[in-house]
């Protein structure tokens, strides 16, 4: 019986594992291999091992880009969390009938193509755009704000794209929470702020961790949005890798940058894991 179940388990897992093996693990290994090979001026690689790519990637010039990317990803995560928590709260505490509608409103924008979304932001944010025109005609600003082609536009664009990935795990966490604990806390004299900080937040830490991971990791390597909405001073590591890969055709250097990026992402994941561990046995995996 036990053996039969193991056998069945192996077979149900096999297709997915094979897929991941071929299309995820192999390319990853290729990237790692490329990162220690020597590049040729015509865009090829020479089969001789070197650490020059990493030495170059750790140059302050590139480290600054990596740090800027990490900072932007952190900022995006923070802003998303600050926006998503009240949204998830409102959805969960609203009437059950309205819940489905609000959840749909959160999810539907993510069906829109990323390029179209970014072009829409360009239309909104440019000097003669919707936002500046509106603010100007309201008399709130004297001269147009230069939001576009700057880090602020990238932040706005990234938050817009990744907000649903923060709202949904938070909603699930709030939905699973034992709401009688809120009443218990109030009964014991806790005001609204204390109820939130001491009962709701600890109970939803798992959802916060999942949401932050789902936002931080993809924004760290994002290149479409920074490329379209960012300016020359907001070059991100994702854009840099894309440049090295497609324009400069220096695959080994691009690979070394990619490995470095993965290392930062892995470090972030490990930090989240530790945070969840600290939350105790009540936290969900």
């Amino acid at each position: 019986m036990r053996r039969g179940r193991d056998w069945l388990l192996a077979w149900t897992a096999a297709p997915g594992l094979t897929y991941l093996g071929i299309f995820f693990l192999v390319p990853m290994l290729l990237v790692v291999v490329f990162s220690v090979l020597e590049g040729t001026p015509d865009g090829g690689v020479r089969p001789s091992l070197t650490l020059d790519n990493y030495r170059r990637a750790l140059d302050p010039l590139y480290l600054r880009i990596l740090a800027r990317s990490a900072w932007l990803a952190l900022l995006t995560t923070g802003v998303s969390l600050a926006l998503a928590y009240p949204t998830a709260w409102a959805i969960r505490t609203g009437s059950p009938r309205r819940r489905g509608l609000l959840l749909a409103l959160v999810v539907i924008p993510s069906w829109m193509n990323l390029l179209i979304k970014n072009y829409a932001w360009i239309v909104i944010l440019r000097r003669e755009g919707v936002l500046n025109t509106a603010l100007g005609s309201l008399g709130l600003i004297d001269e147009p704000l230069s939001l576009l082609f700057a880090p602020s536009a990238v932040l706005i664009g990234l938050v817009h794209t990744y907000l649903p990935f923060m709202v949904l795990p938070l909603y699930v966490a709030l939905d699973r929470m034992d709401w009688s604990l809120v009443e218990a806390a109030r009964d014991l004299g806790a005001g609204r702020a204390a109820v939130f900080m001491r009962v709701v937040v600890p109970q939803t830490l798992a959802g916060v961790a999942v949401g932050c991971t789902l936002v931080f990791i993809p924004t760290l390597g994002a290149f479409v949005t920074p490329d379209m909405l960012g300016g020359p001073d907001s070059l991100m590591v994702g854009t840099l890798i894309e440049n090295q890969l497609l324009q400069v055709r220096n695959w080994p250097f691009a690979s070394a940058l990619a490995v470095l990026l993965m290392a930062v992402a892995a470090a972030a994941l490990a930090a989240v894991r530790r945070l969840q561990g600290a939350a105790g046995p009540g936290a969900l995996a």
């Binding site: 034992d178 009688s180 604990l181 009443e183 218990a184 806390a185 109030r186 009964d187 014991l188 004299g189 806790a190 005001g191 204390a194 001491r198 009962v199 600890p202 109970q203 939350a279 105790g280 046995p281 009540g282």
Partner: protein, 365 residues
């Protein structure tokens, strides 16, 4: 753990025509009662009778549609739960899973700004009282149901509330533990002197624990009184039925003070005579005497001839159903009763155990 304030006169909790509606549903439909200091009050009723809404009104999780709740002479209307001297032991216990037992119990005093040194000492004393001090560093997830129950009790009592509300506190425990916890609840209540309002649907639990018993149905208080009073003199068929399998029979009261059952049997009741007309007669199973024909003393009151339909052994006593012509009476006999099915018997009931109830039209359900 004694209340810090000197005792004052007047009830600790008073409900004044309290009402709560949800849309068209009247969950609490106008209740008035007052409860004294240090009383153990049990609110007994079937599910859906409004007792949970009553609890939530007292705790402050719901605001009344109309009427008033007074705690120690001050109205609670509009006062949020965090500013009431009322604490709740929740049915699900609602212990904070991310906090240890000690932190759970310290939560209330901490929120109220009690100095740290005093919190420590109060938490220890309270945990000691409910005998879970050795579990202080565990998390709720590592405790059994009975232990969680004690921690929930400690977490509420440590705040020294004027009123403690318990929502079906024993319903999640198995029978033997439930009986032990009943004794413990009663002992803790006596020691602390806090007024307990214990919500339950279990009539034996209510009868065992209560100083003051409230029987609730459809949002109203059907009867309020001591358990003995309510048990021996139920005010209507619902109370009589709910407080134990009573024999409630339709009858007619005659001008001479006796009542006539549907089958023609005439009974004399010791209490004040009912107005002539339709009445109900309640006979407690344990007050019904069953004797073999020929063995019965002729001096017994209210004799009825009958035939045993069924004898079933339910542990400590024998339940015996007797057809007395037109009605079936249930009698609880001591274990050694030697009566067989089909036997001709004489049934008798002392006049003081014949309780007359109004034949209320709304009771005919």
């Amino acid at each position: 753990m004694l209340p810090s304030m000197p005792p004052r006169d007047g009830p600790i909790l008073a409900l004044n025509d309290l009402r709560k509606s949800f849309g068209d549903t009247k969950a609490v439909a106008g209740v008035t009662a007052s409860f004294g200091r240090g009383e153990y009050v049990c609110v007994l009723g079937p599910s859906g009778c409004g007792k949970t809404t009553l609890l939530r009104l007292i705790a402050g999780f719901e605001q009344p549609t109309s009427g008033d709740i007074e705690l120690d002479g001050r109205s609670l209307v509009g006062v949020p739960p965090e500013r009431r001297d009322v604490n709740v032991v929740f049915q699900s216990y609602a212990l904070f899973p991310h906090l240890s037992v000690r932190e759970n119990v310290a939560f209330g005093p901490r929120m109220k700004g009690v100095p740290a040194s005093e919190i420590d000492q109060r938490v220890t004393t309270t945990l000691q009282m409910v005998r879970v001090l050795e579990l202080a560093d565990r998390r709720p997830g590592q405790l059994s149901g009975g232990q969680q129950q004690r921690v929930a009790l400690a977490r509420a009592l440590v705040n020294r509330p004027k009123v403690l509300v318990l929502d079906e506190p024993l319903s999640a425990l198995d029978r033997s533990l439930r009986l032990a916890m009943q004794d413990e609840l009663r002992a803790v209540q006596r020691r602390t002197g806090v007024t307990f309002i214990h919500i339950t649907h279990d009539q034996s639990e209510a009868l065992t624990l209560a100083d003051q018993l409230v029987v609730m149905r459809a949002g109203r208080f059907e009867q309020v009184g001591s358990p003995a009073e309510v048990y021996e003199h139920p005010r209507n068929r619902f109370v009589a039925d709910f407080l134990g399998s009573s024999n409630v029979l339709e009858a007619t009261a005659d001008a001479d003070g006796t009542v006539r059952l549907a089958g023609g049997v005439r009974l004399r009741a010791a209490g004040p005579a009912a107005a002539p007309g339709a009445v109900l007669v309640s006979l407690r199973p344990e007050c019904v005497r069953v004797e073999r024909e020929g063995e019965a003393s002729s001096s017994r009151e209210n004799q009825m001839a009958g035939q045993v339909i069924r004898v079933s052994n339910t542990g400590p006593l024998t339940e015996c159903r007797v057809d007395v012509g037109g009605a079936t009476l249930v009698a609880h006999l001591p274990q050694r009763a030697n009566i067989a099915e089909g036997e001709r018997v004489v049934v008798s009931v002392p006049a003081e155990d014949v309780v007359l109830l109004p034949a209320d039209a709304t009771d005919a359900q």
